[in-house]
């Protein structure tokens, strides 16, 4: 029999995990929504963010500075990669983009291996958040609550960005009809580079946020990307709202599944993906970023 407090703790863990997935998946989602690119290297941006965050933190002891530095550096790298390798391929078969991003993955993961070594590293929880909260009879780490709140703030910010900003307008319009946006005189290549850089930057930020709870290794991107793919596909590729719902489902399946079916959560999650794709190939919310 599983104790109730264990179930509650796992459900809460699921919520913070959900927010990490939302952060990572939202980058994938806006990139796919606007550019039709499924970015295999997205997990590698997350991994790089974690390492850059760790290095910054060890150097300065400033956690929030680490987040900002990871966002800027990983974002800049993403923009550079898009500009040099993806931009020349627009108009070619979209699968070529997928192949290129797979090439990024190989280069980035191995580079991290080269720079930071293969051994597992851990990031200390920032002092400010290193305590436990008493929730009824349950003692719960404050850092996980921070992840949840950070994610919530991020989701709010993204909604505003997509709904109110010019960039969001272009992303929404581009998701619907790239040709029309282009004919209206929007500098679409620049919007693409910005979007890719922004998506990569968010992935970098989520790497820093996740680092204190998951531990760092050069293959951490490879393990998270599967869940991120599953989230964006179940949610509907290109749908921000869908990816939030799907992130909730996947994170809770994993967290609660670990209590009831230990060892089989990955299979459950993959089955959820297969079932969704077979029944509703477009996902739960087919490209509804416009109504997000």
């Amino acid at each position: 029999m599983v104790a109730t407090s264990a179930i509650i703790a796992q459900a809460l863990n699921g919520l913070s995990q959900m927010m990490l997935l939302v952060l990572i998946a939202s980058g994938l989602t806006i990139i796919f929504g606007l550019m039709d690119i499924l970015n295999f290297a997205h997990g590698s941006f997350y991994m790089l963010g974690a390492y850059i965050g760790l290095s910054t933190y060890l150097l300065t002891e400033q956690f929030f500075l680490a987040i900002v530095v990871a966002f800027i550096l990983v974002g800049a790298l993403g923009g550079l990669l898009e500009y040099t390798t993806l931009r020349p391929l627009y108009g070619r078969d979209p699968v070529d983009h997928l192949l290129i991003t797979f090439g990024f993955l190989l280069v980035l993961d191995q580079s991290a291996h080269f720079i930071w070594g293969a051994d597992l590293k851990s990031m200390p929880t920032p002092d400010l958040l290193d305590f436990s909260l008493q929730l009824g009879m349950l003692s719960y780490p404050a850092y996980r609550i921070f992840i949840f709140l950070f994610g919530l703030a991020f989701v709010g910010g993204m909604f505003l960005l997509i709904q109110r900003s010019n960039m969001g307008l272009i992303i929404r319009a581009g998701t619907h009809n790239t040709e029309t946006v282009r004919s209206l005189g929007i500098n679409l290549p620049r919007a693409f580079t910005m979007t890719f850089a922004f998506g990569a930057g968010i992935a970098g930020v989520s790497g820093v946020i996740a680092a204190p709870v998951v531990g760092l290794s050069p293959t951490m991107g490879v393990s998270i990307i599967i869940d991120a793919f599953i989230v964006v596909v179940i949610g509907g590729l290109g749908s921000f709202r869908g990816s939030i719902v799907a992130a909730f489902i996947i994170a809770e399946v994993r967290a609660l599944g670990a209590l009831f079916f230990p060892g089989f959560t990955s299979i459950l999650v993959l089955l959820a993906l297969v079932v969704t794709l077979v029944i509703k190939p477009e996902g739960l919310f087919p490209t509804s970023i416009t109504e997000a």
């Binding site: 699968v95 192949l99 080269f114 299979i267």
Partner: protein, 336 residues
């Protein structure tokens, strides 16, 4: 993907190259070991096994225009099916290969059934998910599938009694490779193969002409899975081990690299690509820690600048593509 129609073309230059390569491969294990050691014979066996795998992938990607991101599953099923056959059923090479092929064909049938309604990225992701399910099952298993440690098996026998030497497995793999290549070539020149290519070129048009596109895609997918499974079976027969890495999605990515690197849609291109890949991997792995950086950079460069791959570089640009397209059109319209 770029679909080439050059199965129909039989350039004299290509034939000369083909004969040269075949001659080298035939005499290799006799001539080479005294000079460079039998290490290279083993490496050559591995290269040829992956050449068969790459060929199997190209049947689907290069001709029917489908990108699977889970082809490790079919190779891996061949490896594990073969290993389990030797451990529990029979020591013979032929039962091993039969189980490998039947298992991968069955799995391709199932995955194809569920995935073929989707195209493009969605198709790639469903095949990816199915392959990962197999991987998860294997790494969480205990004794029977060996879990993370994989399985080790002894060398199978031929006709239940004859011990297979390294030289013999070399020729078995070599002859299988040649046979599969000839078979694939004939397939692509047959009516069925031509339909594959029409679908790869434009599946909507194929649908309008009246072909059952999903059914032909399914057939192409199963054939591709079977050839991949055969390669997996040969791998375990030659190397004697099965590892869960062979089911992991990064391995599915590697086979795509081999195919794209060699030249999609040419049959022999991916085989050359596989050979070059295996040699580069072995060579760079021993000299340079981070060889995947080089691999990734080379791969990006190829996709970006040489989408026709290695064979596209070697071939004269003034090809007969238009001619073969016309022939294809004639053949299609003359049919009812």
């Amino acid at each position: 993907m770029n679909v080439n129609l050059n199965t129909i073309r039989h350039g004299a230059v290509e034939n000369r190259w083909l004969i040269a390569i075949l001659t080298v491969l035939t005499v290799f294990p006799f001539v080479a070991p005294p000079f460079i050691g039998s290490f290279y014979t083993v490496l050559m066996i591995e290269a040829m096994v992956f050449a068969i795998f790459a060929l199997g992938y190209d049947i689907m990607m290069g001709y029917t225009g489908m990108i699977s991101f889970g082809h490790a599953a079919y190779f891996g099923l061949g490896v594990y099916g073969g290993a389990l056959t030797v451990l529990h059923l029979s020591e013979g090479l032929i039962p091993l290969l039969l189980v490998a092929v039947v298992l991968s064909a069955a799995f391709a049938f199932i995955v194809g059934y569920f995935s073929l309604r989707s195209t493009g990225v969605y198709f790639a992701l469903i095949t990816f998910a199915f392959a990962q399910i197999l991987y998860e099952i294997v790494i969480r298993s205990s004794d029977f599938l060996g879990g993370n440690n994989g399985l080790t098996v002894s060398t199978p026998t031929l006709f239940a009694s004859i011990e297979i030497s390294e030289m013999m497995i070399y020729y078995i793999v070599f002859l299988t490779m040649v046979a599969v290549y000839i078979g694939a070539r004939r397939l692509m020149n047959s009516p069925l193969g031509l339909i594959f290519q029409v679908i790869g070129e434009n599946d909507q048009r194929a649908e309008f002409i009246g072909y059952n596109v999903d059914r032909y895609k399914h057939i192409s997918f199963i054939i591709s899975g079977m050839v991949s499974g055969l390669a997996g079976g040969l791998f375990v027969a030659a190397e004697g081990f099965a590892s869960p890495d062979m089911l992991f999605w990064l391995f599915s990515g590697e086979i795509i690299i081999m195919v794209v690197f060699g030249g999609v849609g040419t049959l022999y291109g991916p085989m050359i690509g596989a050979g070059v890949f295996i040699y580069l991997e072995t060579y760079l792995n021993s000299t340079f820690d981070a060889w995947q950086i080089i691999l990734g950079l080379v791969f990006i460069t190829v996709v970006l600048l040489f989408p026709q791959g290695l064979v596209g570089l070697l071939k004269d640009s003034d090809s007969l593509d238009s001619l073969s397209l016309e022939r294809l059109r004639d053949q299609l319209t003359s049919r009812d």
